[in-house]
Symmetry: C2
Subunit: 155 residues, 2 copies
């Protein structure tokens, strides 16, 4: 399988990874959720080559994860904002951060604290079942093929 065939796999994980599973894309998305919106800001914060920033922002824009919004007319300038589809990626970011908080703590605690506005508390994300509300973990789940399954598919 090649990288550009991923999006045609009958697998939701493969299709997602085709868009966001890149080395730098997740870092760009992290910054998006922290309020970074401009090309120069991404480049400065990440310290990677401008070519990659431009390429990844284009992919995310083409996929509808980010949206270009003009903030001044002359010279034409715009910023990159998360769309609804992009905001839907928040659980992905939270899950990754949470795993890092747990397994790669350097002893000084989490680098970023997150407060749930509606209850006012600093919180940890918990993955729960939509039906019973209990926490789900790998051992408590049974996977089986769905309608869109085909032999080479998975997840």
């Amino acid at each position: 399988m090649k990288w550009d065939e991923l999006s045609r796999e009958p697998c939701s994980l493969a299709r997602s990874v085709a868009v966001i599973g890149d080395r730098w894309t997740l870092l760009i998305l992290r910054d998006c959720f922290l309020g970074v919106r401009r090309f120069e800001a991404f480049q400065e914060r990440l310290g990677i080559s401008r070519t990659i920033i431009a390429d990844r922002l284009k992919v995310l824009t083409d996929e509808g994860v980010l949206q270009k919004v003009a903030y001044q007319a002359r010279p034409a300038r715009h910023e990159y904002r998360l769309t609804e589809k992009g905001l839907d990626l928040y659980p992905v970011i939270l899950a990754i951060v949470s795993w890092g908080d747990r397994h790669y703590d350097d002893g000084r605690g989490p680098p970023i604290l997150r407060r749930h506005k509606s209850c006012g508390c600093d919180f940890q994300p918990v993955m729960t079942c939509s039906e019973c509300g209990d926490e789900v973990d790998a051992r408590g789940v049974e996977a089986r093929p769905g309608a869109a399954f085909s032999p080479s598919a998975a997840g």
Copy 2:
């Protein structure tokens, strides 16, 4: 920033991405959660070069996400199993799959269905607040620097 500097960033997402943020690593982990354990099986299912499989399995093993377990002595053969640290990645996989299910459905529904054993229902994962139990989304959360924060850090 370079790829191998990621793990030294004061950012839980960067540290995690240094381990699992690779193109193929997430696909390998997907298969792990579906019960795939042997080198040949990973290679056959993913259809990518053996070099990459070997390299990624080594990284995941070195990081303690997978563990080599012998299943026969002569010739020496072993399989790769998720450790507790690896099982902790389940919310990450679920979050990515869930996003794909929602935004890259081809009209035939999800390729894989998941049943929560304890309640017996097919379910969708919901990211909730550890303190109040309500669902969390990007707009309802406020991030701020924690103890391990430093100027270049994030998330």
